[in-house]
């Protein structure tokens, strides 16, 4: 290849190249650079057209971003349309070969033939610039079109021009890389500066927040109603709040830096305290312990220690509350409870005293059982057996007073008192026909009057359900009246029931003039009678936690009635236990049975 340009032109070209090289640096914009490139190609090197394609990594396309020599609307339109793919034939060829493609009419290149035509060129120079061979930054295309060729430099005809073009492309490549890297570096620097500012602001904000928290904690530390002590792993006191000083009577300077042992412990040795507190520090996250302490003055007081591990250095925070008053109250309560328990135990003795002795049953019956089990120490169930006017007559009562425990026991006392009156009335008249029904009525009226329950606005509302039996062993007459309580008896192996009246005794709702029904039975030897309060068959138990029920009670009775009452008592107890299982007792239980 020869050169057709004059030495003057060559000088001008390379001078221009030099100027371009000096004027552009990494701070230039790509827009400026592309302008220079197109200007150089067309003005200095005198080619007709120049194009710069730039790679868009998001879709892999090379799009035209700068052009020179495309003046008509048709030519302008094509610039938007023509794109090259990174993976397309043209770019692929250039990437792999690393050499420009020079297409001329005399030396056509198949890869770019149609592209050249679409770009309104007849000859064209293609070279990649910038980036690397994997992802080039762009493509420069310089060439001549359909216009009068004599006006323009011809590709491949002048070696100097080709060399200049090649040199320029190298310069373009290096500069674009510098620009890109500089931009990246600038961006990194800006980001770094921005991040420094942001991070500084964050730290400042955190400092303020910490300070605020510190102030809050300080207020809590100093103003709290609880004492706070911080000790290190060697149990040396690091900090105390004013409350601690107030509690023990020491000044702060007397305590700080001292071993915790300065807070004298009485009653519990230091070793015990250590064992409870410090040794258990590692086992639990939070422990509480009550200790008796001694003030500086010698006065003893109780404190409750709560402890928290503060940090990994082993510092511990103790929160201390003066619980002296609480302790004293607890002692007082214990004392009162003891006294109350003692009272109740004594009351139990009293109640047991009014329960008839078993030998009394022997006077009238061939066999018997008594099962009396209050729910608490004392109860609302009671049974009474009294001789009346002579040794042949007796009065048996099984009574279930309102409630259980102490209130129930009070009512039983009242019942006993009225029973004495009844006995007195009967004993005073030897001709009097003893009537269990009349007895229940008497109880009803008397209790209502005594407790002022005949009027509706009293606070109390107590009474009882129960059964009364009059038995004369000489005449073999048994009379029964029941208030909500049935009488079961076995005659000739048959279980029979006499239902009590559905009317309780003594309550506000009980009618003053209620007439209880009386039942008379001519008894004979071997007949067995059972009188029970509802505590037995109302007991919850079983798999579903339901009451046993009268039906099951009767089944137990029927199953065992032929046995001796000693055996029957055991059976009744065991059946109850089996049914009750782990359920708590509902009520007092009383079951009295006897054989004629």
């Amino acid at each position: 290849m020869k050169s057709c340009v004059s030495s003057e032109q060559v000088s001008k070209i390379y001078h221009r190249l030099y100027e371009i090289g000096k004027s552009i640096n990494e701070t230039a914009s790509t827009e400026e650079l592309y302008n220079m490139a197109c200007e150089f190609a067309t003005n200095e090197l005198n080619y007709e057209k120049a194009l710069i394609f730039e790679h868009d990594d998001s879709n892999g396309w090379f799009k035209i971003v700068k052009s020179k020599g495309y003046n008509t609307p048709v030519e302008q339109k094509i610039l938007r349309i023509i794109n090259l793919l990174l993976s397309g034939e043209v770019i692929e060829y250039l990437r792999i070969n690393g050499e420009p493609i020079i297409h001329t009419e005399k030396s056509p290149k198949k890869q770019v033939q149609s592209l050249v035509k679409s770009l309104f060129l007849t000859e064209a120079y293609f070279e990649l610039f910038g980036g690397d061979s994997d992802i080039p930054y762009g493509l420069i295309v310089v060439g001549n079109g359909m216009n009068d060729a004599s006006n323009f430099s011809t590709l491949l005809e002048d070696s100097i021009l080709m060399l200049a073009l090649g040199n320029f492309t190298v310069q373009l490549s290096n500069t674009i890389n510098n620009i890109v890297f500089y931009k990246a570096w600038q961006s990194e620097k800006e980001n770094l500066e921005k991040n420094i500012i942001k991070r500084t602001q964050q730290i400042e904000a955190q400092k303020i927040e910490l300070e605020t928290h510190r102030n809050h904690l300080q207020k809590i530390f100093h103003n709290r109603g609880s004492g706070i002590i911080i000790v290190d792993k060697n149990k040396v006191i690091l900090e105390v709040n004013p409350k601690v000083c107030e509690m023990w009577g020491y000044l702060e300077e007397e305590i700080l830096g001292q071993h915790i042992g300065i807070l004298q412990i009485t009653d519990q040795s230091a070793a015990e305290f250590r064992e409870i507190t410090f040794e258990k520090v590692l086992e639990q996250t939070c422990i509480e312990v009550d200790c008796q302490m001694e003030k500086k003055s010698g006065l003893r007081f109780w404190v409750q220690f709560s402890r928290e591990v503060l940090n990994t250095q082993g510092d511990i925070l103790w929160v201390i509350n003066d619980v002296t008053e609480l302790k004293e109250s607890q002692e007082e309560i214990k004392k009162i409870h003891r006294e109350t328990q003692d009272s109740i135990q004594y009351a139990s003795l009293i109640q047991q005293a009014i329960i008839p002795e078993e030998r009394n049953f022997v006077e009238y019956f061939s066999d018997f059982l008594t099962l009396w089990k209050p729910k608490d120490i004392v109860g609302g169930d009671i049974y009474l057996l009294e001789e009346l006017r002579n040794k042949d007559e007796c009065l048996l009562m099984v009574i279930d007073c309102t409630g259980h425990g102490v209130p129930g026991a009070f009512v039983t006392m009242l019942v006993k008192a009225i029973e004495r009156q009844v006995k007195g009335i009967i004993s005073a008249d030897s001709t009097l026909e003893v009537s269990p029904a009349w007895i229940l009525s008497y109880f009803n009226v008397t209790m209502k009057k005594l407790l002022k329950q005949e009027i509706g606005n009293t606070v109390s509302n107590v009474g009882f359900d129960g059964g009364v039996i009059y038995f004369n062993k000489k005449t073999n007459i048994l009379k029964f009246a029941g208030a909500g309580t049935p009488l079961f008896y076995v005659e000739d192996n048959e279980l029979k029931t006499i239902k009590g009246d559905r009317h309780s005794v003594g309550y506000k709702r009980s009618k003053m003039d209620f007439q209880f029904r009386e039942h008379m039975i001519e008894v004979k030897d071997g007949m067995k009678f059972y009188l029970t309060t509802d505590g037995y068959f109302d007991q919850n138990g079983g798999y579903e936690g339901l009451p046993m029920g009268k039906k099951k009670f009767k089944e137990i009775l029927k199953r065992n009635c032929h046995e001796s009452f000693v055996t029957q008592k055991i059976k009744f107890i065991n059946e109850l236990k089996n049914h009750q299982k782990s359920h708590i007792r509902n009520d007092d239980i009383t079951l009295i049975a006897f054989e004629i």
Partner: protein, 409 residues
Amino acid sequence: MFNINDYKFDEKHNYLEIGGEAMIFHCHHYITNLQRTILDADYIDSSRFLIGSAADSVYYQLTNLCKGLNVEESKKMAEDIYKCFGFGLIDLECMDENGCELKTTNSFFSKTWEMKFGKRSEPIDYYTSGFLAATYAVIYNKELKDIRAIQTSCLACGDEVNTHVIKLGDCNYDTYPKKTPTKFKEVPKLKIDWEHEEAITNAFLGAHATMVGNEEGLIPAFGVYLARNQSDYINRLQFEFVHKMTEVAGDYGVTLAGELLLEAGHACGFFTYGGIMTSNEWNSVVKPYLETKEDWIKALASLVNTMGWGYHTAVEISENRAVFRNYNDFEDLSYVRMYGKSTYPVHWANSGGFTGLMQLIYNSDLVNGIKIETEEGFRHMRRSKERYKTVMTKSIACGDDYLEVEIYK
């Protein structure tokens, strides 16, 4: 109403036809890539053929499927095939003699576009606009050219629903001349040179019938969303794109359009074949037969021959060079049916797919179970100088007996 099992797979031609239209699966990677390629060329009015192509294919299909059905039955048929083919869900109750304003929250196109490219500023579900235009035309006996089909809201734009307005009016899409019937090339086939071809093909024959729309009207399979497209619909998008690019860019338009379409096909092959070859079905049924990397390629060909894309085979396979054939491939048959003869090969999807396959087998660690699942991974792989080049050497549309493509490093 519509049952995919009523339509028998043509084993001789590896072809499935429903209502007169050849049906082929494409993955969402391919369809979204193809749409984006077309839409990025914003200097051509692509909406006309994006809608028109769908309207044309669906019109012929529904005309056949709805023969003898009343209005309600025809609506049900249209709803069923839309769902079955994996395009989403539509309720045609609102359609009447005057058209419809149909709303839906289940759209294959909107969903997959947003998955791949994020939100966009304009609606994207051109297919459904075309589908509804065709449905309206068939059910209410209208001419396609008299219907206007617009999508006014789109999930991919951040809207709550897709809204399609179909009514009589100034037609906003292209309509096309009538197609000729599909003509197969009855030539002897070069079989896949592999002893287990029949076993694999038989194992998957009929499997396509299990790939139908779920309760959302979508077909998730092999790690992609599939859509069972009318072959002519999807292919016409390519052909019209090339035509339009040629109109605006001259001779280079064919090259540029072709390169773009190959790229879309490459993406499809890469992601879909990658998904197939790492699926549980592949691991359990096919992998036991595989010994070499070439076996992987042959096995895949044996499997995809049951999908209705034609009969795939290989003349030569090695790491550096492969020559593939497809007898009665869906692209060429489609072109011939719609446009007649071509001066250049038209099987970009096939060829791109084969290229993607080679890339997967020889340039990635797929055979060891590691697949590239991200766009970034795909782009990184495409930048590599180790990538394969594609030369489409034979095409039925150009008068050849089969499709042939050479792929080499």
